[in-house]
């Protein structure tokens, strides 16, 4: 199975990788609109907002793109005028770096913790020290094994 899948995956990735077109001016403008918050409506980005201020800012974005400014320069232009809160996602510097770092670090720590807990719970089955449940588990072992075998046999038949 693995040998069949691998070429397919590689082929897919290759197809995707080679053909990404350069975004046009309108695409870049819309990308910026979804990254900049409308200053008068809480939490709404420019592309979500319907108010006049947002429409004016959209015009500014297009004028500056037409004048040859980069997306980064335009973002900076708005940050200079309104502060970092104008950006819909926090910058990856200063104190805002924490908002980006905490999730992955937290996940890594939690994943390691989860792995250790599961390993610990697995190890516990070696000594039969869990009282009644451990004893009954041991007593039922052959029975369960038989059920397993019969069940997998049935599945083979039906499949």
């Amino acid at each position: 199975m693995r040998t069949a899948l691998l070429p397919l995956v590689i082929l897919t990735l290759a197809t995707v990788a080679c053909g990404r077109p350069e975004p046009g001016l309108e695409q870049r403008a819309q990308r910026l609109e979804s990254q900049i918050i409308c200053p008068v409506c809480p939490g709404e980005t420019l592309d979500q907002s319907q108010v006049q201020v947002a429409r004016d800012m959209k015009v500014v974005i297009r004028e500056r793109l037409n004048a040859g400014e980069s997306e980064e320069e335009i973002r900076q232009y708005f940050v200079d005028r309104y502060g970092t809160r104008i950006l819909a996602q926090p910058p990856t510097s200063g104190i805002s770096l924490a908002v980006w770092l905490v999730p992955p670090v937290g996940f890594a720590a939690a994943a390691i913790g989860l792995y250790l807990v599961v390993r610990e719970m697995r190890r516990r089955r070696q000594p039969a020290g869990t009282g009644l449940s451990g004893a009954s588990e041991a007593g039922l072992g052959p029975y369960l094994k038989k059920v397993d075998e019969e069940m997998s046999g049935e599945r083979d038949d039906s499949a």
Partner: protein, 679 residues
């Protein structure tokens, strides 16, 4: 008159719920059964008390009784008649009264059902349920009295916020508030059992069933809110990761984790402590939601702006958290698993990973909500955490979670065999790779979208494979296709109901990927007769008409939509300006097809006669709304009572937990072809 009646009803509700809580506990501790019975009756009587309060407020609204401040602030004489009924929960005070009423009903039902199934845990469970209700009545009586009189005479009221005049107002807020408040039910069953010292599985079925019900109510409420936003907010979106949306999503995700993980306890007697933790987290998150909603420190488009109740709800949330985790740590030594985990490749571990991812999304979302507050205190410039952040961090987590929906079900309990897993996953993986290849060669250039579609196909084909194999087996037994499939589903309703819910999530994800990656939009300012082009569509603005209304300027634009040279539809979106509110409300006109929505909304009518149109093409948006009924159908299937198993499980509450082993491992009838059914 109505004000007096309502005030009395609220005070009566407060007294009854306090008495119910106190006498249940006192009667149980002192061993006086009569006191417990009396407390229970008081709990039932909170239902009519709350209902009379709500009835009084609704009556005041219908009669335009502007001597009541809340009626004056949320209605007027000219508003549409049908919205009079919902104006009652349009503001902070009235919505709290609504919550108290619907919650009293749910708590009464929970006490009635619990009394019949697990009377031994009920004194403490009803005390917890009534304690929460007493809090609502207390806030109503002291801080947010909807019956407070207006200080001056008013001939007319201020009216309802224009954005709330939408059909979804009848269903979205009621369901959302009921779902959030209802999370107290499964929590109370579990905590009541723990306090009673019943730490085996006494609370399990009650908490599972009530948990699934409130989870479905909350989920429907969230989805209806998304639909509402889509049709009214005028930007073609349906989810904005707004703080208020997030605080409704978080308890739903925690409950999703619970209703998965509780299956491990039901089938294997494991994860007892963990399931309690999940319920505690969901309960506290629901309180957090109410806190943010009613005067929390976060700015949102949805919150009740004038509310100053933040501190009250924050205190209650902290109290809830202390209580929940206090009980948990007190009973911690008694909560142990019957059995160990046997293998990393097992359904138990799959459920753990599912919980890990769901709580991970909760954590990211919570972090995104509170981080701006942290920076506000810690530095001079604050930051915004909005949609791009959440999409970027939560998006991949959701994708992995969905992929797990295809892997978990084929893993057996205890220990899955590699051969069996390979046999079940080969076809889905091939189909999924073929999908990716097909999409890439069809010219789609969004790698993440291709990956997402491949994952969706993978999960869908795992479910389809199980249904096809099972139906084939039934066919050999003599059933026809449809009957065989139905009997397969009926043979194990919780499992197959779960699959139907998974399909609903796939439909939702399908719509999300389509709209997120392939949408097109544009803003156009058109004079009558002018045309705009977007995608394959040409839109001609033919003119607008003004309908005279007493409270608003209502203008409806007519837009002819051409595809090529053929006129395919005339869209009529409207724009209403309410001078009293200095606010506009718009309604999008949507041409919806399974392939794509053409979405047209009038942003503004300019004074020079031009119409500012926001037009977008939202591919696959149709599927988002199909997911709702499928979600409900799956939940109903999973919950449909099974007389046979009820009678088998009901007796012998004193059965030692370990003895449940063999019976719960019995092969499921009719489940021959299910992967992982060896347990």
């Amino acid at each position: 008159m109505m004000a007096d009646l309502g005030t009395i009803a609220v005070l009566l509700g407060l007294a009854l719920s306090l008495y119910a809580a106190a006498s249940s506990v006192a009667g149980r501790l002192a061993g006086i059964p009569e006191l417990v019975v009396s407390g229970r009756r008081a709990a039932y009587m909170t239902i009519p008390a709350a209902a009379i309060g709500s009835g009084a407020l609704v009556t005041a609204f219908v009669n335009h009784d502007f001597s009541i401040k809340y009626v004056y602030e949320h209605s007027n004489l000219v508003m549409d008649r049908e919205f009079i009924w919902v104006a009652f929960y349009a503001g902070n005070d009235g919505s709290l009264l609504y919550i108290a009423t619907v919650y009293a009903g749910m708590a009464g039902l929970a006490i009635w059902v619990g009394e019949r199934q697990r009377p031994e845990i009920m004194p403490f469970t009803s005390a917890i349920l009534m304690g929460v209700l007493a809090f609502f009545f207390f806030v109503l009586a002291v801080f947010a009295n909807p019956f407070a009189p207006l200080e001056f005479f008013a001939a007319d009221g201020l009216g309802i916020n224009p954005l709330l005049s939408h059909p979804a107002m009848f269903v979205h807020p009621p369901l959302l508030m009921a779902g959030l408040a209802g999370i107290a039910l499964p929590f109370a069953y579990a905590a009541g059992a723990l306090i009673s010292g019943r730490t085996a599985d006494e609370w399990l079925d009650l908490a599972r069933v009530s948990g699934i019900v409130v989870w479905a109510i909350l989920g429907s409420g969230v989805l209806l809110g998304a639909w509402w936003a889509y049709t009214i907010l005028g930007w073609g979106g349906y989810w904005g990761w707004d703080p208020i949306e997030n605080v409704a999503l978080m308890p739903w995700l925690a409950m999703t984790a619970f209703i998965h993980s509780v299956m491990v306890q039901k089938r294997r007697g494991m994860f007892r402590m963990w399931n309690i933790v999940l319920l505690n987290v969901a309960f506290v998150l629901a309180q957090f939601g109410m806190f943010i909603n009613r005067g929390g420190p976060v700015v949102s488009v949805h919150s009740f702006a004038a509310s100053t109740l933040g501190a009250v709800f924050l205190s209650f949330m902290i109290l809830s958290a202390l209580f929940a985790f206090g009980v948990f740590f007190w009973r911690y030594p008694m909560l142990r698993s019957d059995r160990p985990i046997e293998s990393f490749l097992s359904r138990e571990v799959a459920f753990l990973v599912n919980n890990f991812l769901l709580l991970g999304i909760v954590f990211v979302t919570l972090w995104g909500v509170v981080f701006p507050l942290i920076t506000e205190f810690a530095s001079d410039g604050s930051v915004t955490v909005a949609t791009p952040y959440f999409n970027r961090v939560n998006g991949p987590l959701f994708l992995v979670l969905i992929a797990l929906m295809g892997i978990g079900p084929v893993l057996a309990w205890r220990k899955a065999s590699g051969a069996s897993v390979r046999r079940w996953l080969t076809i889905p993986l091939l189909l999924s790779a073929a999908t990716a290849l097909g999409l890439a060669s069809a010219g789609i250039r969004e790698p993440i979208a291709i990956l997402a579609f491949a994952v969706l196909v993978f999960v869908a084909s795992v479910i389809a494979e199980e249904w096809i194999r099972g139906t084939l087996a039934r066919r050999r037994a003599g059933d026809n296709w449809a009957l065989g499939w139905w009997r397969l589903l009926n043979g194990n309703r919780p499992r197959h109901g779960g699959y139907v819910v998974h399909l609903a999530i796939l439909l939702l994800a399908f719509g999300v990927v389509g709209t997120q990656f392939f949408d097109q939009r544009g803003d156009f300012a058109l004079r009558p007769g002018e045309a705009a082009t977007i995608g394959d569509y040409r839109l001609v603005y033919t003119g607008s008409e003004e309908t005279p209304r007493s409270d608003r300027v209502l203008r409806t634009g007519s837009i002819d939509v051409y595809k090529g040279a053929t006129l395919i539809e005339t869209l009529r979106p409207w724009h209403a300006f309410y001078p009293a509110f200095n606010q506009a409300s718009v309604r999008a006109a949507i041409r919806s097809t399974p392939i794509e929505d053409l979405y047209v909304v009038p942003s503004d009518f300019l004074s020079d006669g031009r119409l500012v149109l926001r037009v977008s093409i939202n591919p696959l948006a149709w599927w988002l709304w199909i997911a709702g009924p499928v979600f409900i159908a799956g939940t109903a299937l999973a919950l449909w009572p099974n007389p046979a198993t009820e009678t088998r499980r009901a007796p012998s509450p004193a059965r030692p937990p370990a003895a449940a082993g063999p019976s719960s491992r019995r092969p499921v009838p009719g489940g021959q072809a299910e992967p992982g059914s060896t347990a």
